[in-house]
Amino acid sequence: MLSELAEIGVLQIHFSGGEPTARKDLVELVRHASDVGLYSNLITSAVLLTKERLGALAEAGLCHVQISFQGNEPIVADRVAGFKGAHAKKLEVARWTRELDLPLTVNAVMHRQNLFQLPDIIQMAVDLDADRLEVANVQYYGWALKNRAALMPTFEQIEETSRIVEEAQTRLKGILAIDYVVPDYYALRPKKCMGGWGRQFFNISPSGKILPCHAAETITGLEFLSVRGDHSIAWIWQHSEAFNRYRGTGWMAEPCKSCEFREIDFGGCRCQAFALSGDAGNTDPACTLSPLHEQIFQQAATEAAAGNNRFIYRNFAGGTPETGSDHGA
């Protein structure tokens, strides 16, 4: 399959998850990707990696490592990751990454309960000699939507965050690149999600389905074809109903249809439009032009201000609230 990807013009591969390091054959996969000329990125939580395995991945031609962090304070970080000692392990793997001269991206998933740590996280990335820091905000579909009340930052936090990031970008030019995206709920224009549906990226799920983005299966009513089926990957990309449904601008209704920004953001995120409006063909409510924007913005601000910090953990029964009193942040 990696050879097929290279032949049809794919340039980069992200080994992501789930957790890619749980694959026993990851080193062989990376080696094959290198052999066929694919640029390989490892997107990992890092908790399963040993020094030997990381060395083997580097030797196999791995091009870049991205490690996700949940804050810079072990107690909060381990509570979100649900794994004791996770934070110390991540730091260790980050140091090995740089010892091997692999470029390192620190991905920090930010939300209301850890945003206060941002200056420390920036310093942590510098201390780790990371090349890039991605300050990502939790995306509110799937599990995080259920936990939105506990995760949504306040408006004041967003303003403070933007100020901190801008200062650090100037101060650390040439040392650490910082990518930062304002959370959707507080943005005026939606994100150009995935660079537009079926334009630049696709995702192959653990079960083999070819998806326009990793969350696309949260949209009901779309049929995603598998690499194990009768069609080639190129065919699925070009001709399948699911890829063509929201590709380009032809599918759009108002206010997107006549919008001057329609080819800039392609209507935002289909998954978020589905999660919040019930129809993936609607404008992403992150956009101020969406009729739902005002209501959802108000709700998010109210939830954030209410300050319920208790998480609902993922399990097979549909989620269990964290026990005990609310944790202060």
């Binding site: 013009g9 980069q12 870049h64 001269d101 470029p103 090349d131 690149a177």
Partner: protein, 105 residues
């Protein structure tokens, strides 16, 4: 193996730049154009940038590159110098350029 640095680079005519391991200049057969592959992104350099990057081997100085290009295009040396240094500095600021370390005496 050339000893390199990749942080806080200030490109000058004395610099001897090279692409770091994680930034790869590659000809994309599908799209019939040169690309730079970098962590989670693809850059599309123009023809001149490609020519400059092909000269970045960690041995040749920026001064020598400018001389070579000025001769080839019979262009004003100062204009070429400004463009080449600005282009390389931009890449360096994004973290996609390394330079050979000066040998310490």
């Amino acid at each position: 193996m050339i000893a390199t640095r990749s942080r806080n680079i200030s490109v000058s005519e004395a610099s001897r730049p090279l692409l770091p391991r994680h930034a790869r200049l590659k000809f994309d057969e599908t799209r019939q154009r040169w690309v730079i592959l970098a962590p989670e992104r693809v850059l599309a350099p123009d023809e001149i940038a490609v020519e400059v990057l092909q000269l970045c081997d960690g041995v040749r100085s920026v001064e020598a590159m400018i001389d070579q290009l000025a001769q080839k295009y019979t262009a004003e040396r100062s204009a070429i110098a400004t463009d080449v240094i600005a282009m390389l500095q931009d890449l360096a600021d994004k973290g996609f350029l390394a330079e050979a370390r000066e040998r310490t005496p």
